[in-house]
Symmetry: C2
Subunit: 415 residues, 2 copies
């Protein structure tokens, strides 16, 4: 057995008692983990300091150093995140449907854990406890594989969680970390068939591509969002300005931020100047087509590549369209299927947009920034799925389950 | 563009109008296809004859020739299958949940088509029309890739369906066949990311393995069933004999047939002799462990490999266990996660088995042969999923959909 197979076998074996653990057992374990994170804050911070030191030495960008840095408040936030998951409803065991067939067979469709979930993630060490808590509550063993820049932090957080699990009825192997952060270990995890039931990559486009290319285990693709706002000819100008400003600037580094703006030609002259004025407050760089630049002289020209780019920065591409249909066509061509919004007072136009744009979340008159487990009322999420299989949109606890059919008979045989 | 990419692009482009087609439009197309299959029966049979001739020349086994052979009755059956799908409820557009958030956002979760479904299948030409009908009704374009032994039949059936589609509002590219039956074409289809939303392989363990190894598009694994019957110490002897006989012999070549029998030691002497007598009617070969052979002298010894084998034949492996727990452990080790059954009059034992055995369908006192879309009341199925992601068990129309969130606001922005 390779190291990775050993890890997989341990996870699979831990998943077995975990799949039938009661809600109370799982909640107690989560509260123990939350306590342990708080109690071991100093240890976690000292290990985190090692990562920060290495980061600084390697010339890590300040924004990345900030994502990597833990503090007492951040560790307390992680602990609160874990205990909040204890408060969420347990998705396991829910009877999703029940039917009695003419032959008397009673067929129940019941929610069950997926089994073993692998999570490959980058940068932020808080994902370690967030992902572990969500997997545990949904009855799944988890194999975590973070980036090498956070290895000391992730190892410390995982050690604290496993030590806490040892004081519960659940096996400590419910939570494991891949300590080898080489590219090979990542690939081995992606190919751990027979042990891993689903792999969830959390990271940028490069990670997602690598997973799609290399994984042989089932995958849920997450998080790449080239999100569009379409300002229809019948839009309320002020609302269009406010929503676009919010979707672009409230947090630029996230997948539900707007990256591209489409504007109907009939409203472009009215909406673009005030919008630019508002976006100038945050120094957003606009890149537009010829028609846009005729209205907003001095902005950069947008290339084909701009329309396909998820900037994750204070940049917005702009394209003027002749019709709603043209806007939908543009989105069909460039969207990553995450979140798109139409701003209009015309209900028929809104319904057409919502029906024909094939993305996880389609908005009428609201910011794309709401595509989020918490905002959707799911309580917490492990990522945003942009694929169509299994789950689409925010991945909350119910999305971390599968189903099983329980069939009750009294001797039925098939002819 | 490669040939396969052209096929993919055509499917993707056909999927766009199809995803918003009305139920009536789709049903009319299905009825047109059903009519066309009936009207072109002679043509289909003459093309099928070419495949049969080639099969006979290549020494194809009689059972395979039988699966390949069409007749007027079989073509009529295919046509009826297609028109039956028209009668099933349309899963697309169903509002699966609706919630209004404290900020006033109304969030609707709506069923939408997956997009483009690829189906790789072996042998039976009727899969061509079955799969096309289910995909069409659920709003999905389909790319079919059958085996080379049925290429004339599949090409003829697809041509008839596409000609029929040309007389409807739907694009003929809603249904396409990969005419190149080389191994390379199969692999190219498995890696058609950006065009194929899900690949469903329908075939034996070899095909499934190849797909798992090679596919980079999302896959739903189907159909491998090493199904177990466990006769508990508290079983009704006659029921145990009848269910086991039915599960093993009613159709041996299918994935929901029983392949392995577990018997509690306390009931083995009572149940095994009458069971063997019954199975002897169909000349079922038993392969047992030492304890079984002490009760049924003269049967073959079972090897480790026997317990892991899906025979799809008149063979049954037998193993005597000391407890319910031991039966569950054995299933945990050898099962492919398809269907397993406990026969017992003890409700607590039944509930323990149904909770702890992690298979798509778990039965109490009924034959495993019921794991089937029709028997579950789904109307029709495109296969039986044995994976946990997306859908598990019979894949009916609702399982061929994804979801989208439609969010209605009035200017909401996120803080």
């Amino acid at each position: 057995m390779t190291t990775m197979e050993t890890l997989g076998a341990r996870a699979k074996s831990a998943a077995r008692p975990l799949q039938t653990a009661t809600t109370e057992t799982k909640n107690q374990a989560l509260l123990k983990i939350a306590d342990a994170l708080r109690e071991n804050c100093a240890y976690i911070l000292s290990e985190n300091e090692k990562d920060l030191e290495a980061g600084r030495k390697n010339g890590m960008a300040p924004s990345l150093l900030d994502r990597l840095a833990l503090s007492e408040a951040r560790v307390a936030g992680m602990a609160k995140g874990v205990s909040d998951v204890a408060k969420l409803p347990d998705p396991v065991g829910a009877v999703l449907s029940e039917t009695t067939r003419p032959n008397g067979l009673k067929i129940q469709k019941v929610a069950v854990p997926l089994g073993v979930i692998a999570v490959i993630f980058e940068a932020r060490p808080n994902v370690t406890s967030d992902a572990a808590a969500l997997c545990l509550k949904s009855g799944n063993a988890v194999i975590l594989r973070g980036g090498k820049e956070a290895i000391h932090s992730n190892t410390a957080i995982t050690k604290v969680m496993r030590d806490a699990l040892r004081e519960t009825e659940l096996p400590e192997d419910c939570v494991q970390l891949v300590e080898d952060t080489s590219r090979e270990s990542s690939t081995a995890l992606m190919r751990l068939n027979g042990y891993v039931d689903v792999l969830i990559p959390r990271g940028g486009a490069g990670l997602i591509r690598s997973v799609v290319e290399n994984a042989t285990v089932p995958v849920i693709e997450t998080g790449v969002g080239n999100c569009h706002i379409y300002i229809d000819k019948d839009a309320d100008i002020q609302m269009a300005v406010d929503i676009t400003y919010n979707a672009k600037t409230s947090r630029v580094s996230v997948c539900n931020a707007a990256e591209s703006l489409l504007v109907h030609k009939d409203i472009a002259e009215k909406v673009l100047p005030p919008l630019k004025e508002k976006l100038d407050e945050k120094n957003v760089e606009l890149r537009g087509d010829e028609a846009t630049r005729a209205i907003l002289p001095g902005i950069k020209a947008a290339t084909e590549e701009d329309y396909a780019t998820e900037y994750l920065d204070y940049i917005l591409s702009v394209h003027i369209v002749n019709s709603l249909e043209e806007a939908i066509d543009h989105i069909y061509r460039y969207s990553t299927g995450h979140s798109e919004c139409i701003i209009t007072e015309n209900k028929a136009a809104a319904e057409k947009f919502l029906a024909e744009v094939d993305s996880a979340a389609v908005y009428h008159n609201a910011s794309t920034r709401f595509t989020d487990g918490g905002e959707f009322g799911f309580g917490a999420e492990i990522g945003i799925s942009t694929q169509k299989l299994h789950a689409r949109g925010p991945l909350g606890l119910p999305q971390l389950t599968s189903v099983k059919y329980k069939i009750y008979g009294n001797g039925q045989r098939r002819e």
